[in-house]
């Protein structure tokens, strides 16, 4: 240690010693000072840089200034202008300027001086260097658990801290049970564990909790905090996010099945794009795709007048939450200017913006069967086979061969004028460059599709060209979407027909289309005859939009598609004055029937050829199907019955490649002329700085997050897990690993965990297991006074921390000990209970049950505007952003709730009633039972005495017999209620 003199605090005249480490570390000792006190004006953001000096890089700090001096002259503190200025006696000259309130302490000045004397070496930010096992040469103990303890012990030794002994078994089972499952141990578990004298009893307990279904419920909820989980969109009317709860169930299953974390990331960011998705263990439906609800958990504005602004807010939220969740970076800070602290230029923000702008919101079938892709493939094969067989069967007479059919007029007199633009024309064979999302519209238009009479024996005709959601059959989900275009005409026209189908003009990806402003942007297609639908869009000129054609419809912003619903369109145009049917662009038609049939067989027909074919067919009676085809036709019918969809959730789908301009100072009305290529933080992740994919580019984003060289992904998740096990992360700011985040207390340990997490196949359970088996996790909370004094915040874990339970654990524990817990898993949420204080628009018509039907809190509805009052009082996070770390507050509302809330009183009553069903012989055995349930321990003599006194106090003049008292529900209710209010019940130790 090196000692120098310094003064701390302006009024403290007593000079005292300031110690600085012998080896000054740039990341740990110097950078925090520069970040906190210098970067705002001398950091990476040029827009706020003063005196042309930047101190975030060596080249900047050592460059010659206007004065001729350099801020830092390596090895020469005396010549370094920086040191002169920070210690200047003239307050006008002193840095940082007085009004910043950022004066440097004597210790900080000493550190800077030492660092400059040592050569002023800049090192990259610790979190941006991939984790490495620093002690490879020494080697770690074989088991991860021992390695973790060894790394912790190193620090304890360094700090001269004596670790506490092992906690008693009662404490351990309660700790383990809450940490792994969020519930107190049952009385059986408690008794079993206490009686288990085997040496591996604890280890077996760990395994049984990790294997319990409640484990997933607990850990899914942790993740839900990170991704702003909610089931409604908040804002004015709090519309439901369709199928949001399926994401909750997906998470629970994922944690319980221990899905590798890399797969988990892939599914949430690109679950719709996976070639071989995972399937639900029982229903054999696509499981991976549920992950993409991650994107749609945000809020939704009711009728925003400026949809472009609204879109930028939506995307900003997704960027913010995505980068915090998976990378613990605050990329959203770079929306208006280069990040002031981290190496994240504004271009990185808009590189990511393009990826998300090219991602479209869409309903997605919730229960897509495992075989759907194969089934559709099979259907396509059958269709081709039928064409082949049919066509081969048609007899072409010689005189027919060259006979041209009468050409029908395709409005050839109307020229494609500048006032009309064709947005899509489906009367030909292809889908005009539109995207056929889902399966309903198939890969082509219906042009030439054989239409069979219901008896399957005869061919009615070959179909005209149109895009149809009945390409295979009705009841199948799919959406046809145009490329993005800029609105530059007064109207959009679509010729359509259908049954309860919908056509929407989606402007700036805005989804909550409805009255009053946007009602006209969505039209239902109710008529089975062709109709011309006109959308009046003149006032939205300049906005980006696309058209979407849906077989179903939206009710209260929930997508519904019934078996009979369908939609078909012939073409879509935009025009200024008058609807003009676009002329068909007909390539030179072939009137050679052999050629026509050949074209037809390979889906290469044009409309005229199909007309000629139809004439030919009716003329020649070629309408009977050969016997060998009947089976194929019937089989096709059966096949398409297997891919019916009926349940949907609010998800995303890939749109087209979009590169975004920079919004100057974050203003969506002020755009840069240059477009930013798409990328995912190339400077930090080392990934591709210009994604070329024709789709959104989300897959490339996932690749960047999961690239072996990504320094953050594994560390961030390992740290989140540590945070939940010990109440604080190795990096305390779990959502921010950037320069403003906290430094890791145990950097080597974090690196070790990050590497072994990956080495063990990204298994979250294995990581948790290795940590809860450590001595550190099993330590007692009590420490001797020296430890308390030396490490009051318990950074070094010489003892296990005492902390308050989370809101859900408090509520669930109350249900559990009362005997009122319904452990049923999964399914739609239990309606939230509405108190008289929960008012406002969008309030549900009916309140949910007070006790939430006894279900675990994770199953209670999360309505943004009507959050469960009990959970909220105990710091349930407002779901607008990532909250990897919850607040723990201490407010009177919490005491008032435990003292007076009907839920709490009710649970006490249920518990009393439940207790009466046990044949406890006397007060003591009952009190013992209560203690075991509530606190996982037995009462001591004093507590027994107090309990007896409390219970007896209501037995005035001992009027009641022991049995009468034992059967007196009211007495025990009050006692249980009192114990719910004892802090031990809501604290974990």
């Amino acid at each position: 240690m090196l000692f120098i003199f310094g003064a701390c605090g302006q009024k403290q005249d007593n000079i005292h010693l300031v110690d600085i480490p012998e080896n000054v570390d740039f990341n740990f000792d110097i950078k925090p000072i520069l970040v906190q006190k210098c970067y705002l004006c001398h950091g990476p953001d040029p827009s706020s840089r003063e005196a042309d000096l930047r101190l975030d890089i060596f080249e900047g700090a050592t460059a010659r200034l206007e004065s001729g001096n350099a801020a830092i002259v390596p090895g020469k503190p005396g010549k370094s202008e920086l040191l002169k200025r920070i210690g200047h006696s003239d307050t006008e000259m002193r840095m940082p300027p007085a009004e910043m309130n950022q004066e440097l302490t004597a210790r900080e000045i000493a550190l800077l001086k030492q660092w400059i004397a040592d050569g002023a070496v800049y090192e990259p930010h610790w979190a941006f260097v991939p984790p490495k096992k620093k002690q490879d040469d020494i080697g770690y103990p074989e088991s991860a658990t021992e390695a973790i303890d060894a790394l912790l012990a190193m620090k304890l030794q360094e700090q001269g801290l004596q670790p506490s002994g092992k906690a008693d078994k009662e404490t351990l089972i309660r700790r383990l049970s809450f940490v792994l499952t969020g519930l107190p141990p049952t009385q059986e578990e408690f008794e079993g564990f206490l009686a288990d004298k085997e040496t591996d009893a604890y280890e077996r307990l760990v395994d049984s909790y990790l294997a319990s279904p409640q484990y997933g419920e607990r850990w899914a909820r942790h993740w839900m905090d990170v991704v702003r989980y909610a089931e409604t969109r908040g804002h004015e009317f709090d519309y439901v996010i369709q199928g949001a709860w399926r994401y909750r169930d997906y998470l629970i299953r994922a944690f319980n099945e221990d899905i590798p974390y890399n797969q988990f990331i892939k599914e949430q960011l690109a679950g719709d794009l996976l070639e071989s998705p995972r399937f639900h263990p029982e229903n054999e439906t696509n499981e991976s795709i549920l992950g993409i609800l991650f994107y749609t958990m945000g809020e939704g504005t009711h009728s925003p007048v400026d949809t472009r602004k609204d879109e930028s807010d939506r995307i900003d939220n997704i960027i913010d939450v995505t980068t915090k969740s998976f990378q613990a970076l605050t990329v959203a800070c770079a929306k208006c200017h280069d990040h002031k602290f981290d190496p994240i230029p504004t271009a990185d923000y808009y590189g990511l913006y393009g990826i998300l702008e090219g991602t479209r919101f869409s309903p997605v079938p919730a229960t897509t069967p495992v075989m759907v892709a194969q089934t559709i493939e099979e259907a396509n094969r059958l269709k081709a086979y039928i064409r082949e067989e049919l066509g081969s069967n048609w007899k072409v007479d010689a005189y027919d061969e060259k006979v041209p059919v009468q050409l029908t007029a395709f409005n050839s007199n109307i020229t494609n004028s500048s006032s009309t633009m064709v947005l899509g024309d489906f009367r030909g064979q292809d889908l005009s460059g539109w995207k056929s999302d889902g399966k309903a519209f198939g890969p082509k238009s219906t042009l030439g599709n054989p239409v069979f009479l219901p008896d399957s024996k005869r061919l009615a005709k070959l179909d005209e060209g149109k895009a149809s959601s009945r390409y295979y059959s009705t009841g199948i989900f799919g959406v046809l979407r145009s490329p993005d275009f800029v609105v530059d005409k007064d109207y959009i026209g679509v010729r359509a027909r259908g049954h309860k189908g919908t056509i929407r003009v989606v402007m700036d990806n805005f989804q909550l289309i409805q009255y009053p402003i946007y009602g006209g942007m969505s039209q239902s297609v109710e008529d089975e005859e062709w109709k011309d639908l006109v959308f009046d869009i003149g006032q939205w000129k300049g906005h980006k939009a696309y058209i979407e054609v849906l077989p179903g419809n939206y009710q209260q912003h929930r997508y519904i598609q019934q078996e009979k619903d369908y939609v078909e369109i012939q073409y879509a145009i935009s025009f200024d004055r008058e609807w003009q049917e676009p002329p068909l662009e007909v390539p030179k038609a072939s009137f050679d029937l052999y050629k026509v049939i050949k074209n037809w067989k390979i889906y290469q027909s044009n409309p005229e050829e199909i007309i000629s074919l139809n004439k030919f067919l009716s003329k020649n009676g070629n309408i009977t199907i050969p016997a060998n085809l009947k089976d194929a036709v019937q089989k096709l019918d059966v096949l398409t019955q297997q891919v019916k969809d009926s349940l949907y959730f609010s998800g995303v789908t890939d749109g087209f490649k979009i590169e975004s301009p920079v919004f100057v100072r974050g203003n969506h009305l002020e755009l840069s002329t240059d477009l930013v290529p798409r990328s995912f933080l190339p400077g930090i992740t080392g990934s591709n700085p210009a994604i070329g994919s024709p789709g959104s580019g989300r897959m490339e984003m996932v690749e960047a997050i999961l690239a072996p060289g990504n320094p953050l992904t594994s560390r961030v998740m390992a740290n989140r897990i540590w945070h939940h096990l010990f109440g604080r992360g190795i990096v305390e700011t779990v959502d921010n690993f950037g320069l403003q985040g906290k430094l890791p207390t145990h950097p080597e340990l974090l690196d070790y965990l990050a590497i072994s997490f990956q080495d063990n196949g990204w298994s979250i359970k294995r990581l948790i297991r290795s940590i809860v088996l450590t001595e550190a996790f099993q330590r007692a909370t009590l420490a001797d006074g020296k430890v308390q004094d030396k490490d009051p915040e318990n950074h070094y874990l010489a003892r296990y921390p005492v902390r308050r339970l989370e809101a859900e654990a408090i509520r669930d524990a109350m249900l559990a000990v009362a005997g009122n817990l319904d452990t049923a898993a999964f399914g739609p949420p239990v309606k939230v209970h509405l108190t008289s204080f929960m008012q406002g628009r969008g309030r549900p018509g009916n309140s949910g049950p007070l006790d939430g039907d006894g279900r675990r809190s994770v199953y209670v509805e999360v309505r943004r505007n009507f959050l469960n009052h009990l959970l909220q009082t105990f710091d349930f996070p407002t779901p607008f952003n990532s909250f990897g770390k919850r607040d723990v507050t201490n407010v009177p509302a919490q005491s008032l709730m435990l003292m007076n809330d009907p839920f709490v009183i009710h649970q006490a009553e249920v518990m009393a009633r439940n207790l009466l069903t046990y044949p406890d012989a006397d007060y003591e055995s009952r009190i013992r039972r209560i203690y075991q349930r509530l606190f996982s321990r037995n009462p001591n003599t004093e507590e027994l005495g107090s309990a007896l006194a409390f219970v007896q106090a209501s037995n005035h003049n001992s009027a009641l017999s022991l049995q009468e008292m034992m059967d007196n529900e009211a007495v025990w209710k009050e006692y249980c209620h009192a114990l719910f209010n004892v802090k031990e019940f809501i604290y974990l130790m």
């Binding site: 007048v305 906290k742 723990v888 005491s895 009211a970």
Partner: protein, 482 residues
């Protein structure tokens, strides 16, 4: 600490406070990361440690100690209340001669003159329409801003913006910021109270929440009725008194504390029960109007025929009682006037709707101003009257007005406010601001300024940034200050 309220505080003093005092949460927030440099443990205060938030010390001499925010939900029409526009009468029924922005309903009609006459009042001669005959008698205490602008034409965005400085959901409300910055002066009552007169504004209770600030700073909702505050009524046990039960709980807790190593947050949670217990008795005392004279009640309109006036009058009286007891920030929501004329949002039937809403609040508000003044409370209380935006000078349909964020009127009265002032100017139609525009951020900066808080320095570190109520904007509107 209270003597510090009476004199300005130097920077050095503040630094010293941070380094050596550590009584003040607000300074920890205002000074951001500096705290970590001062505290040996390198740890910012955890929310659980926020125990004592009484009377935090302001940046400079405050004019106001408390704020009463009279929120005019839905948006009062400026041209029908405080910003007379004779031109509208001249062009009544004609198409607007100016460019019309997209509106919420986009059903924009002809120019619509005000159905109400204006008259000049007070020594200052401020014109007020017939809608507010009572408030008109207080104009010499009021500073009127006619040049308010908002960024949002939708209720919910505009509500969040007015309340939290951001159009998005989930940000801390100004009441939360203010109690975070200044604390409460009454240990038995919350620092930030919303008196719910019946209508929670669009956007819901998120208008009043703490956002990313610790939950200590969220609004406590109070309403008229048997249970004015959630869970405030002691649970009546069948065979034991609450006091006995609390004593028993206390005994159990103390007996166990040693086993836990007496962590400070557990100790704090224990002592929290006593505060909650005291609140149970101080709230009923607060909501009980027995001690108020008949004259006072009459002043507030408590005997009015209109139940909405009586309702709002009771809220106003309660607001006075709250600030009297040191509650820092009180917001009143609008009464449920009923039917299609709820709040000020008259997309149709302007005349009927505005009249009924005005009648509900006019006398109670004037009563509040006069009562505060006569008790000397107006000198230390800032009364703020505002909606989230204004309304269009042209009709929606034939007899309504749509939302207009481009110009609206609001006023302040009381502590530090120059009475009788009119600030800012709109065009001849009252459609857009033409002089001295005042943004919502400016309004926030001004309110904070009057409370002795520099809006640039009231920050909280969240998501990688030191965030302010005023974001990166805000200028104090000095012209309306004494």
């Amino acid at each position: 600490m209270s003597d510090r309220l009476n004199r300005p505080m130097g920077r050095r003093e503040m630094l010293e406070y941070c380094k050596c005092g550590f009584g003040s949460l607000a300074f920890m927030g205002m000074l951001g990361g500096m705290v970590s440099a001062c505290k040996p443990s390198l740890k910012q205060p955890s929310p659980g440690q926020i125990l004592d938030r009484l009377s935090q010390t302001p940046h400079f001499i405050p004019k106001a100690k408390n704020v009463i925010f009279l929120y005019m939900d839905g948006g009062v029409s400026q041209v029908d209340s405080f910003d007379p526009k004779p031109q509208l009468a001249k062009e009544n029924g004609q198409d607007p001669k100016f460019k019309v922005d997209a509106t919420q309903f986009n059903n924009n009609g002809k120019i619509l003159m005000s159905p109400w006459k204006f008259k000049n009042y007070g020594e200052c001669g401020m014109p007020v329409s017939e809608l507010f005959p009572h408030i008109a008698t207080c104009v010499d205490d009021m500073a009127l801003i006619r040049s308010m602008v908002s960024n949002f034409p939708e209720h919910t965005n505009a509500n969040y913006f007015l309340h939290t400085g951001s159009g998005l959901q989930g940000r801390p409300s100004m009441g939360a910021w203010i109690t975070y910055g200044l604390g409460s002066e009454n240990s038995n009552l919350p620092g930030y109270v919303v008196l719910n007169g019946g209508l929670i504004p669009p956007g819901g209770v998120d208008n009043f929440k703490n956002g990313f600030l610790p939950a200590d700073f969220q609004a406590s909702m109070m309403k008229v009725g048997d249970e004015p505050v959630a869970n405030i009524n002691p649970y009546a046990a069948e065979n034991t008194s609450q006091r006995d039960k609390l004593d028993f709980i206390q005994k159990m807790d103390q007996g166990r504390l040693g086993h836990l190593g007496s962590p400070s947050d557990v100790e704090a949670a224990i002592s929290n029960y006593e505060l909650a217990y005291k609140m149970q008795s101080s709230v009923p005392e607060l909501t009980e109007f027995k001690a108020e004279s008949e004259a006072t009640k009459k002043l507030y309109g408590l005997f009015d025929e209109d139940p909405n006036t009586r309702n709002y009058g009771a809220q106003c009286l309660m607001a006075r009682r709250l600030v009297e007891r040191g509650v820092r920030f009180v917001e009143l929501t609008c009464p449920m006037v009923g039917g299609s004329v709820d709040r000020w949002d008259q997309h149709s039937n302007l005349k009927d709707g505005h009249e009924r809403n005005a009648h509900a609040v006019d006398q109670p508000i004037a009563g509040l101003l006069k009562d505060l003044k006569s008790r000397g409370l107006l000198e230390e209380t800032l009364v703020v009257w505002s909606g989230e935006f204004g309304r269009t000078p042209f009709a929606q349909g034939s007899d309504g007005r749509d939302h207009n964020p481009s110009a609206f009127s609001m006023w302040m009265a009381g502590a530090g406010v120059k009475g009788g002032t009119i600030f800012g100017q709109t065009d001849e139609y009252g459609y857009r601001v033409v002089e001295n525009p005042v943004s919502i951020h400016d309004l926030h900066a001004t309110i904070l300024h009057l409370l002795g808080v520099d809006h640039n320095h009231l920050t909280y570190h969240f998501g990688g940034r030191d965030i302010r109520l005023t974001d990166v904007h805000g200028h104090v509107v000095k012209a309306i200050l004494t």
